[in-house]
Amino acid sequence: MTGLPLLSLLVWTPIVGGLWVLFAGVGRGPSTVRAVALVVSLATFVLSIFLWAGFDAGTHEMQFVERAVWISAFDIHYHLGVDGISLPLVLLTTLMTVLVVLAGWVVIEYRPAHYMAAFLIQEGLMVGAFSALDSILFYVFWEALLIPMFLIIGIWGGPRRIYATVKFFLYTFLGSVLMLVALLYLYSEADSFAILDLHHVPLGFTAQVLVFIAFLAAFAVKVPMWPVHTWLPDAHVEAPTGGSVILAAIMLKLGGYGFVRLSMPIAPDASAELAMFMIALSLVAIVYVGFVALAQPDMKKLIAYSSISHMGFVTLGFFIAFSLMEAGDATSAALGVEGALVQMISHGFISGALFLCVGVMYDRLHSRMIGDYGGVAHPMPIFATFMMLFSLANSGLPGTSGFVGEFMVILASFKAGAWIAVLAATTLVLGAAYTLWMYKRVVYGPVASDGVAALSDIGRREFVILGVLAVMVLAFGLWPAPLLEVMEPSVEHLLEHLARSKL
């Protein structure tokens, strides 16, 4: 297996497949297009399984590294590799893409070839962003990613899709321009665009703060952190189901990934200095946005706000690590960071599943408003069971993956400060309140209308999609050890690196 450039295959298989679908598929029938898209996404997923099987969890070193000169004049390399932090994200990307292709199977009637192509190309770009080791390559993937999502929302989106896409694009684009400036500055200091070289470039405190803030502009928007989060609910509401799933499950994770791959190791002293600020923003996200979610009349908006609140645990887990390392408690720091990483993976499954659930209902009744539903459990008992599972997982029920990350982060954050843990733990009440209140109003109660009474339960295709996610949510909830094992050496290495001052 080692002979094959696996990562390149993972990046380019879906892109080439997507281009084929785009150009050759338009003239053919939608069934051919769907079949090709499914085969391509499945092949990519199988390749990623090989990646996982060949991955050595005993080291923090980058694996499956590929390096070639790309633009020699600027010293830019085509440089790929994965470690324990990026591998799970790559797997998440390939799995969710298969599900999204399935989810768009018969639902998308308008330009199915373009739709499938957008998702396949996007998959390749996302894998590229998670495995890029050259900062310019990372930046290229990062920016290129915006285009398919822009098109997905803009073409297959809802009535206010233009407002949503412009807001989405400007928000994320403005942030990433500052990242580019930071990368160019770092090149002038390090004489290299290689991310691992940037980790070791010595930087003064002011320079670190400026670099950190430039990165923050890009990553905080992506996560999204309060107060630059308002693009997300709008984007979700207008996006088609598949777009929402990819957006919530994977694109948000790029922000979190950026913090651990770039901001924190490149500017460790600035990160430590600003950790309290970041913790405060995370807590605002958890509490403030949790309350806001409670007031949403639109299911997609509610889940979008819930995503922001849950992503608060990711940034919280990362930034409590600094004070814990300072106190010499490496185990708790690892608990926080790994909890945050687990939360990213778990949130991918759960938010993806919830958006798919809303999609199932939207496909039938063409409404996302909670008030239009009620008593869905009557006509759709199997669906109601799945949605119950995912709602409970979203409330952080032990035994589901939603619990693992929150539990680890709350345990670790108590050491960073009891009040941090108490505020973070309010999610136990708030998360359950907004999720289960929505569930009560939509699924429970007497049948609300003739439209609801006429709903048909999920078919085999939808059963497979939700079933796969249900298995994932339960498996990682009951036994997260394999995931933690993969992350452990890389996280330990990261923490050792963070503990060394660059000053």
């Binding site: 807001k167 400007l170 928000y171 107060p227 308002t230 403030y288 309350f291 806001v292 979610a293 409670l294 007031a295 949403q296 490496a330 185990t331 708790s332 690892a334 608990l335 790994e338 008593g375 459990a377 009557h378 119950m388 409970l392 029920l397 032990p398 035994g399 619990f403 693992v404 539990f407 680890m408 709350i410 345990l411 954050s413 108590f414 050491k415 009891a418 843990a421 108490v422 733990a425 309010t426 136990l428 009440v429 359950a432 309140a433 907004y434 289960l436 209140w437 009560k440 699924v443 429970y444 109660g445 007497p446 049948v447 036994w479 997260p480 050890a481 933690l484 094992e485 452990e488 330990e492």
Partner: protein, 653 residues
């Protein structure tokens, strides 16, 4: 060998739940109840064996890992079992009551379309409860704790098309979550100061952190163990429905009666009691935490019992009685009489499950009528239900010789011996509680089984005793309601029944103090007739007999005369109003306000769209400069050049 037995005890109900839940349609109704009852029967027998092995044969228990949940740094989080005298006792109680409820359900849910789903849920509950009591670490405890809460949520909302049911289950879950918040913080606190989530490690480390303090509110220094114990107890207040987190339990009666018996009387609600007893090595280090437990329990024991006097729904009366009895158990914990509390937990599980199932039997016969104002005189029609109810009632009020007598009397005596500062207040509460218990219990008994037949003609014609699947569990529960007290009072309270599993500080060991005057169970019964609780209970009975049997016209007049008190009681001390109209409304208001003002107006309106408008304005200005006239540009260029040159010159100078 025992490890496999333990594994089987836990996994059998899980398998039953999965089969009945996922393949319910394929195996049919009979298939579903056979599978789940078979599985729980296996669990019950093996639990009895485990109990015999650990408690009777005196073999050492088990404390070990099943599998590693996750490893982070030096921390290994494992899933494992701790089977000792305490957990073995709980296992027997849980599986036995669960088995009875499974059998009873065949009759109670006979015509329900959700038959298989119901069996799946109650088996799943049995699994979760066993995981909780058999855990050897805090992570798994929290798993079991939340899992039983979820199944309770699913079962309260079992009839999900009833608005009242799905309101009640959401309320139950959220109130429990408030408790769980405290519980999780308590766990995090213990983890911080002991570095482990395993009971054994935490208990070993506890003596070393007795003096540790943490920064509290307003600059105060708080004792770590006191903080952790109170946080854990907040969890218990949610799960065991202690004041002021009690509000969910009466509403939980919206669920089918079998689960009211199993979950909301006998087992799940006692998880909090069990947990505090399990944590006795921690609570014993903090007098403050024990005092909190004592006072909360005392308030619950008395004031929740009073609510039973004004409820008309037969199940709600039993529910308030459950609240009150949970209060008794909690008081016992606070007085460091953990063994007495667990003993009362056990006897209560039997007689309260009996009372609930008897109430359910009445409800079946009355065609799902639950209002006692439309009952009366049922003893003629349902003799088995009548006699077993009477036995349950006698056990509940603590009639000498019945199981409830031994356990409740011991708790009252223990509180009397306690030296905690608030013990006097608690003793007054539990003593007056005895009178109240007898009063509401016999009020219910007379209203249901005696007096005028107040039901409509149609219902009366169809009144008859319920089928054997209902009455047999009643009889099987009536036997331990009478017998277990005699058998267990001596070994549990004064013997070595619990071995090392419960630890009590020597200076606070009230049961040891009581042991000095212990002369056996028979002597305790004889002695009862000269103690206050007996006469209080008798007084309660006589008053109830007078008011609801002899002169049923008087209660309404009393209610009228004491209108204000009566209103406070019927409004349940206004706690529901406080939580629903004030707290929940406040939460929704905050959410709505933050959204409309914070997100929509400030962030989007001012910052995002504001900056968009700013850019628009700027480009408007710039557009005006770009007139398109060549001489304007030329002029601007010359001006700029001059400016640059003069700047350059000035800087050089």
């Amino acid at each position: 060998m025992m490890f496999q037995v333990y594994l089987c005890i836990v996994l059998a109900p899980l398998m039953g739940a999965i089969v009945a839940g996922l393949f319910g349609r394929a195996i049919g109704r009979a298939g579903a109840h056979r599978v789940t009852i078979g599985a729980v029967a296996i669990s019950t027998m093996l639990s009895a064996f485990a109990y015999w092995d650990v408690v009777v044969a005196g073999n050492s228990g088990f404390d070990g890992t099943i599998y590693t949940w996750g490893v982070v740094g030096d921390l290994e989080i494992a899933v494992g079992f701790l089977v000792d005298e305490l957990s073995a006792t709980m296992m027997v109680v849980v599986t036995f009551v669960s088995l009875m409820v499974h059998i009873y359900t065949i009759g109670y849910m006979r015509d329900d379309p959700g038959y298989q789903r119901f069996f799946s849920y109650i088996s799943l509950f049995t699994f979760a409860m066993l995981v909780l009591v058999m855990s050897n670490n805090f992570m798994q405890l929290f798993f079991g704790w939340e899992a039983v809460g979820v199944v309770s949520y699913l079962l309260i909302g079992f009839w999900f098309d009833r608005e009242s049911a799905v309101r009640a289950n959401l309320k139950a879950f959220l109130v429990n979550r408030v408790g769980d918040l405290g519980f999780l913080i308590g766990i995090a606190c213990l983890f911080m100061y002991t570095g482990s989530l395993q009971y054994a490690d935490v208990f070993d480390a506890a003596p070393g952190i007795v003096e540790s303090t943490m920064p509290g509110l307003w600059g105060a220094e708080w004792s770590v163990l006191t903080f952790a114990c109170i946080c854990l107890f907040i969890g218990a207040m949610g799960k065991s429905a202690q004041f002021p987190l009690h509000v969910w339990l009466p509403d939980s009666m919206e669920g089918p009666t079998p689960i009211s018996a199993l979950i909301h009387a006998a087992t799940m609600v006692t998880a909090g009691i069990f947990m505090v007893a399990r944590m006795s090595p921690l609570f014993e280090h903090s007098e403050t935490a024990l005092s909190v437990v004592l006072v909360i329990g005392a308030i619950t024991a008395l004031f929740m019992g009073l609510l039973g006097l004004v409820a008309h729904d037969i199940k709600r009366v039993v529910a308030y009685s459950t609240l009150s009895q949970l209060g008794y158990m909690t008081v016992g914990l606070g007085a460091s009489a953990y063994a007495a509390s667990i003993f009362h937990l056990g006897t209560h599980a039997f007689f309260k499950a009996l009372l609930f199932l008897a109430a359910g039997s009445v409800i079946i016969a009355m065609h799902h009528e639950q209002d006692m104002r439309r009952m009366g005189g049922l003893r003629k029609y349902m003799p088995i239900t009548w006699i077993t109810s009477l036995i349950g009632t006698l056990a509940l009020i603590g009639t000498p010789g019945f199981s409830g007598f031994f356990s409740k009397e011991s708790i009252i005596e223990a509180v009397h011996h306690s030296t905690l500062p608030m013990a006097g207040f608690a003793w007054l509460c539990v003593l007056s509680g005895v009178f109240v218990t007898a009063l509401y219990s016999f009020r219910m008994y007379f209203l249901v089984f005696h007096g005028a037949e107040r039901m409509d003609e149609h219902t009366r014609e169809h009144l008859h005793e319920t089928p054997a699947v209902v009455t047999v569990p009643l009889v099987l529960l009536a036997i331990p309601s009478m017998a277990v007290g005699w058998i267990f009072v001596e070994p549990m309270l004064y013997g070595s029944h619990f071995g090392e599993s419960i630890q009590v500080d020597a200076g606070r060991d009230v049961l040891a103090a009581m042991a000095a005057s212990w002369h056996g169970a028979a002597a305790m019964v004889r002695h009862a007739f000269v103690t206050a609780p007996f006469w209080l209970a008798l007084g309660g009975f006589v008053v109830a007999w007078f008011l609801w049997f002899l002169r049923p016209d008087i209660p309404a007049r009393i209610a009228h005369a004491f209108g204000a008190v009566h209103t406070v009681l019927t409004r349940k001390y206004y706690f529901d109003d406080l939580y629903e109209s004030v707290l929940a409304a406040f939460g929704r208001g905050v959410g709505s306000g933050l959204w409309r003002v914070g997100d929509v107006r400030l962030i989007d309106g001012f910052m995002v769209n504001g900056s968009a408008r700013g850019v628009g304005w700027l480009s408007g200005v710039v557009r005006r400069i770009q007139t398109g006239l060549l001489y304007h540009y030329a002029f601007a260029m010359i001006l700029g050049l001059l400016l640059l040159v003069s700047l350059f010159v000035m800087v050089r100078l």
